[in-house]
Amino acid sequence: MKILVTSDWHLDAVTSGVARFDEVARAVEHCIETAKQERVDYWFFLGDLCDPDAQRAPRCAAFAIQTAAKLAMEYGIPSLWLTGNHDVIEDGSGSSTLAPLAAAAAAIPLRVPMGSTGVLEAVRVFDRPIATRLAEGVTFIALPFVPRCAAYDPVKFIESVAERAPCPGLIVAGHLNVAGITPGSEADEFARGRDVWLPIDAIRERWPDAIVMNGHYHGASVAPGDVLIPGSPARFTHGEAGNSPGCMIVEVP
């Protein structure tokens, strides 16, 4: 199984008066092209589409729907989307900037090869923690950002699914804080929400070989505990001038 992982688009970002939407949209187009060329089986988005109170939020949500639809309908690539700390709307509703995509998901069909009998959901949005089967022998655990109105304890959630999730073929994807990473703009210009930590010790204790990935951080890296950080598709602040924006390809044998 091959997965393209992208995150932290921040489509509403403005740097020194320059709106970044068009540039990030081009970068996402490059991701889509990469997904097509690499013949990936899944597309993961690990959170932070845009801030809900941004003037451009509707345009950003529409772009997410267009992207998911293009992946599913033109290339047959199902996509999974996690909410990040910038996506959640803390008004008690539990909604997020990915809610329009979640609503549209039911209307997005997945183009499947002729003769295929598999039934896959084209688009899935995770705004709550979940453990689900992704494919034969592959389990997926989503740990989206923890909003106040739908709070959960990541450690307790991991403990609760430990029995059900087999070690080989386990993928854990989150949008939480990762210990050992020195925060950059995530804790400065892009600070939003509160700190909730990825329970990497609890994960590794149970599943030492799990593939663990996390959004939130704008610089691509491998964090302590072998946590894979895809990074942002653009540099948003001068503190990120040294970043290499892009996306991540993970191959799970």
Binding site: V18, S221, V222, A234, A241, S244, P245, C247, I249
Partner: protein, 141 residues
């Protein structure tokens, strides 16, 4: 526990090891560059500017830069075709040593009022001082 097969993975030129998976990062072509022209850059002395075409350029003038020299550098930056410039405050200069200004001596309420009483014109200063002093006594001043 599953057998830990190690395969090499790459991230921005570094090779890292991951069990059971192959991971790599794909960089985007031509992401917008964010550059800084700081106070030590040679451009402030008339030297060449960095290649900033299409970039967002943050400009930090030296402490002694004049408005004219800052304007001239900004004009040169714009001529390069930067996306935008962001002018920051001048860099902090050396700490200037200035003579300590003698502080005004603090006076009590009573001293202030007594001075006003003595400065009053056309009144019996002693009588006024007696009345005002009694009020200040009542107020505990």
């Amino acid at each position: 526990m599953a057998t830990r097969k190690k395969k090499a993975t790459e991230v921005t030129g570094k090779v890292v090891m991951r069990p059971l998976s192959l991971v790599r990062w794909v960089q985007h072509p031509n992401p917008l560059r964010l550059l800084t022209l700081d106070e030590s850059h040679g451009a402030w002395g008339g030297g060449p500017l960095p290649d900033a075409h299409g970039a967002i350029l943050r400009v930090i003038p030296p402490a002694d830069a004049t408005d004219e020299s800052i304007g001239a550098v900004l004009d040169r930056c714009r001529a390069l075709g930067v996306a935008t410039t962001k002018l920051m405050p001048r860099a902090a200069g050396d700490v200037a040593v200035v003579a300590e200004v003698a502080r005004a001596q603090r006076r009590t309420h009573r001293e202030v009022v007594d001075a006003l009483v003595q400065g009053a014109e056309g009144v019996d200063h002693d009588a006024l001082a007696l009345v005002v002093g009694a009020i200040m006594d009542e107020e505990g001043l």
